[in-house]
């Protein structure tokens, strides 16, 4: 009860409370919805539940606008856009998860080290993270792609690695806050092994949100990175459909006014990334509001 009055003293608090139902609820609902949809579509595509064969061409009807036969129209060799978009989820789904798990795994490891034993690890970990931060993602990816091969898993592995700092920093900050929380100190004082304390209190109680956030951010990024690379010619290669190479190929017809071809996948990207972003931000805000 008294919390409300303390809140009453700080304007921002009211802003937050107020923005709760409007922004956050909508965001969370939309975000969750999109995420579920994407997963659903992914599963469907894996189970081959598709309106058309994504590779079946119809050179008679290329760059067709939506019709009953092709709900989203067809591409430059008359393949069904809807089917390809559905299958396109496979291009980033697992690789995206890979990159997310990489960044989370090492991120939380480093984060915990730096968070709990700053004296011992802060400098080392910090240096390591800064090393990763110092290398612009895309430059690094181009480097790797040129050196090895344009494999989406490889690319997103790199993305995952470059995302380690973000995850680590988030967790480190959380822990730094939590360590000052009496119950952690108490737990440690009570002689519980720090590892247990970390796992239970930090990772489990406070890390769950973190995982989700990283996941949402990582997925959104995975899609956009793949898209940029497709434009540069290093992305997922035809005929395997990816939203990226669909936009990239569609762009060739852009200036001729045939915007549809690249706008459909671009729209898919927008909705998905938007969904992930909103979800992630909502979660993050909740985490910030609840935490510290």
């Amino acid at each position: 009860m008294s919390r409300f009055l303390e809140l009453a003293l700080e304007p921002s608090a009211w802003q937050r409370v107020r923005s709760w139902p409007l922004h956050r609820t909508v965001a969370t609902v939309f975000g969750t919805g999109m995420a579920t949809l994407v997963v659903g579509v992914y599963v469907a595509s894996v189970l081959k539940v598709l309106p058309h064969d994504p590779d079946a061409m119809d050179l008679g009807a290329v760059n067709a606008l939506p019709s009953a036969a092709h709900l989203l129209g067809t591409d430059f060799v008359g393949r069904d856009l809807l089917s390809r978009i559905m299958v396109g989820t496979q291009a980033f789904f697992l690789p995206g998860l890979l990159s997310v798990s990489v960044s989370l795994l090492f991120g939380s490891l480093l984060g915990v080290l730096a968070g709990f034993w700053p004296a011992r690890f802060d400098t080392v970990v910090g240096l390591l993270l800064q090393l990763l931060e110092s290398l612009p993602k895309l430059v690094l990816i181009l480097l790797v792609v040129a050196l090895f091969r344009a494999d989406i898993y490889l690319i997103l592995l790199v993305v995952g690695i470059t995302n380690i700092p973000a995850a680590a920093e988030l967790l480190r900050a959380r822990i730094a806050v939590l360590r000052r929380k009496s119950y952690i100190e108490a737990a440690i004082a009570l002689g519980l092994p720090p590892s247990r304390v970390i796992l239970k209190h930090v990772l489990w109680l406070h890390g769950r949100g973190l995982v989700l956030i990283q996941a949402t951010i990582g997925m959104g990024e995975a899609i956009l990175i793949e898209t940029s690379l497709s434009y540069l010619g290093f992305g997922v290669q035809e005929p395997t459909p990816s939203w990226g190479n669909m936009v990239a190929l569609g762009k060739d017809y852009f200036f001729r006014g045939e915007l549809w071809l690249s706008t459909v996948p671009a729209g898919a990207i927008l909705l998905t990334v938007l969904g992930f972003h909103l979800l992630g931000d909502a979660l993050l805000e909740r985490l910030e509001a609840s935490g510290a």
Binding site: D55, L59, V77, V145, A146, A150, G233, E238, P239
Partner: protein, 537 residues
């Protein structure tokens, strides 16, 4: 395609080509005006020796001359050499140079004329192992180059060959201007700041990557009409077309086939077709037991609707071909007709070859009960998406007859490694660009199957080998033709390649530029005669 670009350069520098209307500028056309032409990508180097892409090749055409050049009718015409004589055994060529050809006046070069030393030097530089140049192979045929006097050069060949003059059209560079006179490598300043004899001279290389060239006032054929020619590199083909449409460029050397219609409709531009003596093909790796079977190769060709692809991907701008020779070359056998599209026949052939059982997945089965499938390796073509489409369509066609094609896109360097060294592929899609000597020995002779050799499909057939050698060694043009015609017929039946088509490229040039003539792939050979009417400058 890039493969073509490399092969094309080799070819390009050997090829017969036509030269500008000789004689000075008494044609009464006005001087002045500038021409901005858009290229996809910037040239790595600006000299004729180390450059290894088409952009550079076209550029050096503006900056340099060779001993001999060619008329539009493909006759060898004098260029730097005003006359020459050939020894009875066709091995020794003696050139007499013009005495009035000046190097571009540049700091450090001063005002020097072209001498025999330059010619001999250039040849030596090309042949010198330290020099990094794609031309090397082309000049292995030269035994020795000697300077007789300041204006006379004697070039001795290892063996007499047909059309030797054509091959001696290499660009002459001022060896005295090189950092190191006996070889040329890319860290030599010369490659970025070349000095030549051509109608235009390099004035600057802007930070934007534009290559700005100015008229060479003392060009021996007389000052070219255009004041400036500017090469403008672009990073995005679609944007390149936009640049043309928005007057940011007066010329695009190779128009996107999908943009041709739009430009055709535009009153401001002329489209100039030019036909690089080149063709595209699917190469079948004989090391694959299935592809080693003639029926399979034939079936694949029968199953592929090449005309439909040509029409839908290249808007029909080109022609189907039937054999290994450069279309339009004298060796090409017009009596052999391209294999028609006939899936039924393809199925028969496959059945004959022993593939009749169809698996659950709808693909034909091999004896091991695996689906009949091949891996098609495609170089990643950032500059040409259409190749992707061809590959896709091909995959689709073969699916109809029950052959499974796995597409594998490889980054360019890796692709070359796989194809030319490791021979790790079942099929490749590639493209040969030719010189007119119609020498296909490197493509199908069994002795050419090693690493970095051109017979990467591993085709081996004593009969063919014999014919190739015979055609190479004979000096009788007629005999050569008949042999080649037979070769053509045989190979088109053998189908070591699925021969696709030869494409017609289009250059789009603003109408204000007049008197435009284009060389098949060097384009700018006659640029010195182009002009822009006074009022349009």
């Amino acid at each position: 395609m890039k493969c073509a670009m490399v092969a094309g350069v080799v070819a390009g520098l050997l090829a017969l080509s036509a030269s500008g209307i000789a004689g000075g500028r008494d044609d009464g056309f006005p001087d002045g005006g500038k021409l901005v032409y858009g290229e996809y990508g910037r040239p790595a180097t600006l000299d004729p020796i180390t450059t290894n892409d088409m952009v550079g090749l076209r550029l050096t055409e503006l900056l340099f001359n060779g001993l001999v050049s060619f008329s539009p009718k493909n006759e060898v015409v004098p260029d730097l050499a005003e006359k020459w004589s050939v020894s009875p055994d066709n091995r020794v060529y003696t050139f007499t140079l013009r005495s009035d050809v000046k190097w571009h006046s540049k700091a450090g070069v001063g005002d020097r004329t072209v001498t025999a030393d330059d010619v001999v030097g250039s040849l030596e530089v090309i042949r010198q192992p330290k020099t990094l140049t794609p031309l090397k192979a082309a000049y292995e045929l030269v035994a020795e180059a000697r300077k007789l006097d300041a204006q006379t050069v004697e070039i001795t060949l290892k063996r007499p060959i047909v059309n030797a003059l054509g091959r001696l059209s290499f660009k002459v560079v001022p060896t005295f201007a090189l950092k190191n006179p006996d070889f040329l490598s890319r860290d030599d300043p010369f490659v970025q700041n070349p000095v030549g004899t051509g109608p235009f001279q390099l004035s600057q290389l802007t930070d934007e990557g534009d290559v700005v060239m100015e008229a060479n006032p003392s060009y021996y054929k007389g000052r070219p009409h255009l004041d400036r020619v500017i090469l403008k590199p672009f990073a995005d083909k679609n944007v390149l077309t936009q640049a043309l449409l928005f007057n940011s460029a007066d010329m695009v050397v190779e128009v996107n086939s999908r943009d041709i219609a739009q430009i055709q409709g535009d009153k401001r531009f002329n489209l100039y077709p030019y036909n690089a003596l080149s063709y595209a093909f699917f190469g079948h790796n004989y090391r694959n037991p299935h592809l080693a079977k003639k029926e399979v190769r034939q079936a694949i060709t029968f199953a592929t609707n090449r005309q439909e692809m040509l029409d839908s991907f290249y808007s029909g701008r080109g022609a189907l071909i039937s054999g290994p020779f450069a279309p339009g070359s004298w060796a090409y056998n017009l009596d052999v007709k391209p294999v028609p599209f006939n899936p039924a026949r393809a199925k028969e052939l496959l059945a004959q070859a022993g593939y009749s059982k169809t698996g659950s997945d709808g693909y034909l089965q091999t004896d091991e009960g695996k689906p009949l499938q091949f891996t098609l390796k495609i170089p990643i073509e950032k500059e040409n998406e259409t190749v992707k489409r061809v590959a896709l369509a091909f995959q689709n066609y073969l699916k109809q007859v029950g052959i499974k094609i796995n597409l594998e896109f490889r980054e360019w360097q890796a692709w070359k490694q796989d194809v030319f060294v490791d021979h790790d592929f079942d099929m490749v899609i590639a493209n040969w660009a030719f010189d007119d000597s119609a020498d296909i020995s490197t493509l199908f002779h069994s002795g050419e199957t090693g690493a970095w050799r051109n017979n990467f499909v591993g085709y081996s057939n004593p009969e063919i080998d014999a014919m190739i050698v015979e055609a190479k060694t004979t000096l009788d043009r007629e005999k050569q033709r008949t042999i080649n015609q037979r070769l053509h017929a045989l190979l088109s039946d053998e189908q070591p390649y699925t021969f696709l088509w030869t494409l017609t490229n289009y250059a789009a040039i603003h109408k204000k530029v007049r008197h435009v003539e284009l060389h098949p792939f060097k384009l700018f050979t006659f640029a010195d005669t182009w002009y822009i009417a006074k009022k349009e400058q």
